[in-house]
């Protein structure tokens, strides 16, 4: 448990430190400190994962040493350990990119990224509904602050994001209040056996669900996401799409798979799954028609979250443990792929001096590495073997196909695959256009391009560790 706490505290400390030091430190050193702390946090998360794997069950910590029921509890399950690791890894990859690419980044990015890391770590570890609310707020505020990093043009989307995020938090909070009013508990694990399918519980769950869905931009509550993610600085977009939207999703998962009575979960499941299916198609279609690169990538997030939502919905409907594995595999694979996609999109955008998809003509010649990263990461989103996306899709498909009455859901997966292929290859195909090449700036940033490729390669490598991941998620998932 201490490793997990360390993994949580180190980014927070270094964030505070960076804020404190301000301009006393040079930007390079700021970046170095942030990356170093992320690296340490990554190592700690790895040890935490080992610890929980060795224990074979999730570890609980009563904060303040108070008795169970009074104390806020932290929980280190193999899932949360994995997510800690994943968060640190993403921060490391994106931090490296932000630090090493030529354009550099606003120095405030480093403190905010540390804060974001800490907030997410706090979220994964928390097992208390109100504590989760605060982590949600932390996450939302940091995310908005990071969107605002890119300057004036981002203020308006950021403002919308913030307002909706606040409203969503309040929906969640009202639900928490109702649950507390009904059961007098805030602890997830204590609440879980006690919940009944009465009106208060239903209302509370409904409110929390809508709030969380709005926060993690699950269809149909995704409208804020594309402008916000598209207008953020490149590294931030990658963090937002890859990580931030997964936080509320985690809470949603905790809520329905643990807190809610199974009967209710079975009722809501199909709704979520259908929403997921529609998200896959609608988000994909929007991405396909999107004129600007980053908006395309952002809509792709909306679409890909549909997979997760579908997995969640079906997990609830059938109470199948494989779906749980599929859900988190999707989250991880999407995170890595999306990071690569955003970094590549950003790099191409800056190298080619255009934000429009149409400006990518000839990108395979002019910015080959970045374009390759885009395509490789896109391959994982489509679910081409042997990528992480394929792994997740495979795990999702297995239970869908085992019973003929479940086959319509598989149709959704099929549709999602096709639509993702459509929007990814729309870009890729265009990049082969040699007729009207868009010339790049004189000296494109090679380092940045290669760093954009890194997460994409990792997500394709993920397939090789598939067995390990699946066992991990299947073992001490809850």
């Amino acid at each position: 448990m201490n490793f997990a706490l360390l993994s949580l505290a180190i980014p927070l400390f270094s964030g505070l430190l960076l804020l404190l030091c301000g301009r006393a430190l040079r930007t390079r050193i700021t970046g170095f400190i942030a990356i170093a702390s992320t690296l340490i946090s990554l190592v700690c998360a790895w040890f935490a994962l080992q610890e929980v794997a060795a224990a074979g069950t999730s570890l609980l910590l009563n904060l303040g040493g108070w008795e169970t029921g009074l104390a806020i509890r932290m929980r280190l399950s193999s899932l949360s350990a994995l997510l800690l690791l994943f968060t640190a890894l993403m921060h490391l990859l994106i931090g490296l990119y932000a630090g090493l690419n030529r354009a550099g980044i606003n120095r405030d990015f480093w403190a905010l990224s540390c804060f974001l890391h800490g907030s997410l770590a706090a979220l994964w570890l928390s097992a208390d509904l109100f504590n989760l609310y605060i982590t949600l707020e932390l996450l939302g505020l940091t995310a908005v602050a990071m969107v605002a990093l890119s300057g004036k043009k981002a203020y308006r989307p950021a403002a919308h994001y913030l307002i909706l995020s606040l409203a969503a938090s309040l929906f969640y909070l009202l639900g928490v209040a109702l649950l507390y009013g009904r059961y007098g508990e805030l602890d997830v694990l204590l609440l879980a056996p006690r919940t009944e399918a009465d009106v208060t519980t239903r209302l509370a769950l409904l409110l929390m669900t809508t709030g969380l869905m709005l926060k993690s931009a699950l269809w149909p509550l995704h409208l804020w996401l594309p402008p916000a993610h598209a207008s953020a600085p490149t590294a931030v977009s990658a963090l937002l799409s890859g990580l931030v939207v997964k936080g509320p999703l985690y809470i949603l998962w905790v809520l329905w798979s643990e807190v809610a009575p199974p009967a209710l979960a079975q009722q809501i499941g199909p709704v979520l799954a259908i929403a997921g299916m529609i998200a896959l198609t609608a988000g994909g279609l929007s991405a396909m028609r999107s004129p600007s690169i980053k908006t395309l990538v952002a809509y792709s997030t909306v679409a890909q979250l549909g997979y997760a939502l579908m997995a969640l919905g079906l997990l609830l409907t059938w109470q199948l443990p494989q779906m749980h594995i599929a859900l988190w595999l999707f989250v991880i694979a999407h995170g890595l792929a999306k990071a690569s996609l955003f970094l590549a999109a950003g790099e191409m955008q800056s190298s080619l001096g255009t934000r429009r998809v149409a400006g990518l003509r000839g990108a395979t010649q002019t910015v080959p590495v970045a374009m390759f990263a885009f395509a490789v990461a896109g391959g994982s989103l489509i679910g081409l073997p042997p990528s992480g996306g394929f792994l997740a899709k495979w795990v999702l498909l297995e239970p869908l196909l085992s019973q003929p009455q479940n086959w319509p859901w598989a149709l959704g997966v099929l549709l999602g695959t096709l639509v993702s292929a459509a929007y990814i290859f729309r870009v890729v195909a265009l990049s082969f256009d040699r007729a009207r090449i868009n010339p790049p700036d004189i000296n494109p940033d090679r380092v940045g391009h290669w760093l954009a490729l890194l997460p994409a390669l990792m997500v394709w490598g993920m397939a090789l560790s598939g067995e390990w991941l699946i066992q991990l998620l299947a073992g001490g998932g809850v």
């Binding site: 201490n2 706490l5 505290a9 927070l12 400390f13 505070l16 804020l19 404190l20 030091c21 301000g22 301009r23 006393a24 910590l61 009563n62 904060l63 303040g64 040493g65 108070w66 008795e67 029921g69 009074l70 104390a71 806020i72 932290m74 606003n106 405030d108 403190a111 905010l112 804060f115 800490g118 907030s119 706090a122 109100f130 504590n131 605060i134 982590t135 707020e137 932390l138 505020l141 940091t142 908005v144 602050a145 605002a148 990093l149 300057g151 203020y155 109702l178 507390y180 009013g181 009904r182 059961y183 007098g184 508990e185 805030l186 602890d187 009465d198 009106v199 208060t200 209302l203």
Partner: protein, 322 residues
């Protein structure tokens, strides 16, 4: 309906009218005013519901700081932003809202209603609840006021994160002044002259607020009050002084400012880490020193809250970037 409900009914009606007005008043300035009034009424309701801590906080925050914020906004934003919104969307939305309300009410009134489903049962049914445990453990918490005990001991982790919320909001705010060099059109006195009239009051009021804040902080461990309330009051004082030009611009370049902004969270986090490393666990105070620790945390937190809130409300380029 009993007469005892009369004040409650009045407050309810008042609140609803103000809420409606704050949303739909034709003039935005009216809407803002009504929103500030709404804060006052809410504070009254808190008092009515035996929540003095909240009433204090609401008074300081809702009415005071929010008022200044809105005034700032009123000046900064052109009026034409406000347009008539009686569109089809409006009516559609209204219809939806009505449907939702009706559904909600229907559930409220049916047998299986919210009110009958345990929400309003007495706590005797709800055992063993967090609340019971909290009440039982106040004695061990190092403070006697239960709210403070909850805030700074039982749920200290929440509070620590909450300090971070303030900090993060401030970090976000700093991003709105992106340029590293001073803006050309920077106006040192962007506040209207009329506020200068306040300066006389401010000279009197500000020390009073500071004293009250200190008192609240000190009182917090045993009675309603505490770091947040104190911090809000101090922030209000600072804002007032700043607006009347009595307080010089705070400068981000000053390490003291940065330190005081970070102090609360940093100290709290250090305590947490220290307890984890040398003590019994994350945020587990040693029994003997818990009172002392809580007070020191409160002091640091108050400082941070006061400075951060004032910066959030009136922070300008020179405060946040210079």
């Amino acid at each position: 309906m009993s007469a005892e409900l009369l004040p409650d009914m009045t407050l309810t009606l008042l609140l609803l009218i103000m809420a409606w007005g704050a949303l739909y008043a034709p003039q935005r300035s009216d809407a803002m005013a009504l929103f500030i009034a709404f804060g006052v009424v809410v504070a009254l309701i808190w008092a009515r519901l035996d929540a003095p801590d909240l009433a204090l906080a609401e008074a300081a925050i809702g009415a005071g700081l929010t008022g200044v914020l809105l005034m700032h906004a009123a000046r900064a934003l052109p009026d034409e932003l406000h347009r008539s919104n009686r569109t089809a969307t409006y009516w559609g939305a209204l219809a939806f809202a009505v449907v939702a309300s009706l559904m909600f009410l229907a559930h409220l009134l049916t047998d299986d209603s919210l009110l009958n489903a345990g929400l309003l049962d007495t706590d005797s049914d709800v055992t063993p609840s967090l609340r019971v445990l909290a009440d039982a453990n106040v004695a061990d918490s190092g403070v006697s006021h239960p709210v403070t005990a909850v805030l700074l001991n039982f749920r200290a982790w929440d509070t620590l994160l909450e300090l971070l919320v303030l900090l993060f909001a401030l970090s976000g705010l700093r991003q709105l002044f992106p340029r590293e060099s001073a803006p050309d059109d920077h106006a040192t006195s962007r506040w209207p002259e009329s506020l200068a009239l306040m300066s006389a009051w401010a000279r009197v009021l500000a020390p009073l607020l500071v004293v009250t804040g200190g008192y609240l902080l000190w009182r917090g461990s045993s009675a309603p009050g505490g770091a947040f309330q104190a911090g809000s009051l101090l922030a209000a004082a600072a804002v007032m002084l700043r607006l009347t030009g009595l307080l010089p611009a705070l400068r981000w370049s000053s390490v003291w400012l940065r330190l005081s902004v970070v102090a609360g969270a940093l100290f709290f986090l250090s305590v947490a880490a220290a307890t984890a490393i040398w003590g019994d666990g994350w945020l587990t105070y040693p029994a003997a020193a818990s009172g002392l620790l809580i007070v020191s945390i409160e002091i640091f937190a108050t400082l941070s809250i006061a400075i951060t809130l004032s910066l959030l409300v009136i922070g300008e380029w020179e405060d946040l970037r210079s």
